[in-house]
């Protein structure tokens, strides 16, 4: 009876342990307290900077277009 009990105990424990291993490791705690928002901010600033850069290039091209148009018209 005691043997059977230990057997069931081990089966129960093994299920318990494997159930714990079944959840894949994620950075949950990192997002809670690991300053992940600093990374989010840095990534957002990089993205915003790249977009602003593209905006300035776009405006430069628009300025050149206007310039070229006004130069070509009189001739």
């Amino acid at each position: 009876m005691k043997k059977l009990f230990t057997l069931f105990l081990f089966i129960f424990l093994s299920v318990f342990v494997s159930a714990q291993n079944n959840t894949p490791e994620m950075a949950d705690s990192l997002r809670a307290s690991g300053k992940i928002y600093v990374v989010v901010c840095v990534a957002a600033i990089v993205m915003a900077g790249l977009i602003l850069y593209l905006v300035t290039i776009d405006r430069k091209v628009a300025r050149m277009e206007r310039e070229l148009k006004s130069r070509n018209k009189p001739s």
């Binding site: 959840t23 894949p24 490791e25 994620m26 950075a27 997002r31 992940i36 928002y37 990374v39 989010v40 990534a43 957002a44 990089v46 993205m47 915003a48 977009i51 593209l54 905006v55 290039i57 776009d58 405006r59 091209v61 628009a62 050149m64 277009e65 070229l68 070509n72």
Partner: protein, 229 residues
Amino acid sequence: MNIQKNWWKLLASLLLLYTVIMGFAGEVPARDILNETIRNLYFHVPMWFGMISLLFISVIYGIRYLNKGKAEDDIYAREAAHTGVTMGMLGLITGSLWARYTWGTWWTPDTKLNGAAITMLIYFAYFILRGSVEDEQKKARLSAVYSIFAFVMMIVFVLILPRMEDSLHPGNGGNPGFSKYDLDSKMRMVFYPAVLGWILLGVWILNVRARLAKMEEIVLNNDLEMKEL
């Protein structure tokens, strides 16, 4: 910038900022092997959506050129293909890196990987073809016809063949698209805006490149006229 004409550029900016912030801070399902790399869905996969969209724009302008023969359409077709191939290369590189840490190797003979690589080669040939023809009209016509074939081959290699064979990619092997097992509702809220944002960014770059190329054309033509005078 004129907001009525360029509202979609603002939309692209907002969507991309949303993608970057929610892409890292948002909740994702916990999966074995993938772990946090599941967030690559917001950055790697939209590269392919962007590439397909831009190559589609390229072939549309190619067909328009064949119909009307306007040099401007050829410029748009060329620049769209250029931007599309750039996004495709970024997709290949990021996919390779992702594969290294999930599938364990930089490259596997997966149908989708090889298909994407072949697509890149097909479009490299497009630029080689363009570079090897001197006559402008002949160049535009030949490359427009070629790009129709190239686009069809891209569809076959990237969208059809991977679905017919077994692939390591999710949603392949007789099960097209993302199923409910691959994408939960929280990820969809970031993934769809991300796809739209990256596509619009590609179109924005195409827009700037094409306008520059058009001006280059005008300046070069002016120079020619000056010389003739």
